[in-house]
């Protein structure tokens, strides 16, 4: 019995390694490493100040998770900072929600393993709902605060280093990396080869050794941080797929009923998912009969919330606001799931 459990997990791991890792995750890690090492975080943090233009604060908050953070250990302090000394509860909760959800690696992986519609829906849902949730929280809870003391504290946030890199070159570099990612996914190996040669040329001509090393080291940090958990997730998904009776899944989260979406959303909110593990586990559920609507609901509620992180959030903003936030996340995820399930097929 135990042996068969191990074998199903190991089987899933092997299937997975041979098909997906090489073509999509490897370039994805390099892109994440590039973003992490080349985009100056302090520049973005300026948009979270108390006097910053609100429109900008919300927009940047909803997408900056890609740039600023991958794990909750960075998201939670940032959230707390934006909330206490920065732009306030609106942009802070926008960031809190979208951060884990808009994780670049997770989106790429979702698109690859769960299908492009779910990948796109996840990204779009994460960004748009984060702004809506932020606005609602601000409307309900924002109090006028001492602008001067806020600004004084906020100015302690580090100064942006001036970047000497020509933006056109940076753009070309990223475009090349993304090209490798996308064309690798389509298995157009000839073009990938050309792009790789182009990459080497770009690096030789315009990148210093230091920049390249810092990029590679950031990439490696992501690999070390995420890959082990990914294997655990895939292993668990393999076991789930072979041992969970499909009827259980179909009864509770099959089809596109409001109830299924809601259950998926709540389950996602409570469960803890290490970065990226939600994807293979969701694949297993989908194979067992979970509806696509509920799958999206889980994708939108899962990474953003978990029992442990609810406690930390509560510590920062108090029980009432946290409860409202959780309720908003669950409702919007449910709603997104229902719409997605209804209209995509």
């Amino acid at each position: 019995m135990f042996l068969s459990i191990l074998l199903s997990g190991a089987g899933a791991l092997l299937d997975y390694l041979s098909a997906h890792v090489l073509t999509c995750l490897i370039p994805a890690f390099f892109i994440a490493g590039a973003i992490s090492s080349m985009v100056k975080k302090e520049v973005i943090l300026k948009y979270f100040g108390p006097s910053a233009n609100k429109f900008l604060s919300y927009s940047i908050a909803s997408v900056s998770g890609t740039v600023l953070a991958v794990c909750s250990c960075t998201i939670l302090p940032l959230f707390s900072g934006i909330y206490t000394i920065g732009a306030g509860i609106g942009p802070a909760t926008t960031f809190l929600y979208s951060g884990p959800a808009i994780n670049l690696l997770a989106i790429i992986y979702s698109a690859r393993l769960l299908g492009i519609e779910l990948g796109i829906a996840r990204a779009v849902g994460a960004v748009s709902f984060s702004i809506v949730i932020g606005l609602i929280m601000a409307a309900l809870f924002e109090r006028k605060r001492e602008k001067e003391t806020q600004e004084a504290k906020f100015s302690m946030v580090g100064d942006p280093h001036t970047s000497t890199k020509n933006p056109a070159i940076t753009f070309l570099f990223f475009a090349d990396l993304v090209g490798i990612l996308v064309l690798g996914a389509w298995k157009k190996w000839w073009i990938v080869g050309v792009l790789l040669v182009l990459l080497i040329i770009i690096l030789k001509l315009w990148f210093t050794k230091e920049e390249i090393l810092s990029w590679l080291s950031a990439t490696w940090q992501f690999v070390v941080l995420i890959l082990p958990w990914l294997f655990v997730g895939v292993f668990a998904a393999g076991i789930i797929r072979d041992f969970l009776p499909p009827e259980v899944i179909r009864t509770w989260v099959g089809g596109n009923a409001l109830r299924s979406n809601f259950i998926a959303s709540v389950a996602g909110a409570l469960m803890y998912f290490a970065t990226l593990t939600e994807v293979p586990i969701l694949r297993a559920f989908l194979d067992l009969g979970m509806g696509k609507g509920p799958a999206l609901a889980l994708l939108l509620a899962g990474p953003a919330l978990s029992l442990p992180n609810m406690l930390v959030i509560r510590n920062v903003m108090g029980t009432a606001k946290t409860a409202v936030y959780i309720a908003l996340v669950v409702c919007m995820s449910t709603f997104a799931g229902v719409i997605f399930g209804r209209f995509v097929f």
Partner: protein, 80 residues
Amino acid sequence: MKVQIFGTGCPKCRKLEENAKKAIRELGVEAEVEKVQDIKEFAKFGIMMTPALVIDGKVKCSGEVASSEKIKEWLKEEVQ
């Protein structure tokens, strides 16, 4: 001298703490090392990104794991 490491407990802030202790040991200065894990405290220092290092109330770095070499530089600055 008071050296504070701000972090929630993940590998990056533990590494920063290690590097700080190493720097202090190698320089041979008198310093107390404190780990601050309460998120609300971070905001008081204007810290948005962890891990962060503060020496005698001054934020020396935030959002990166500084090497023990860099930390030694900062310690030397504060000893004056």
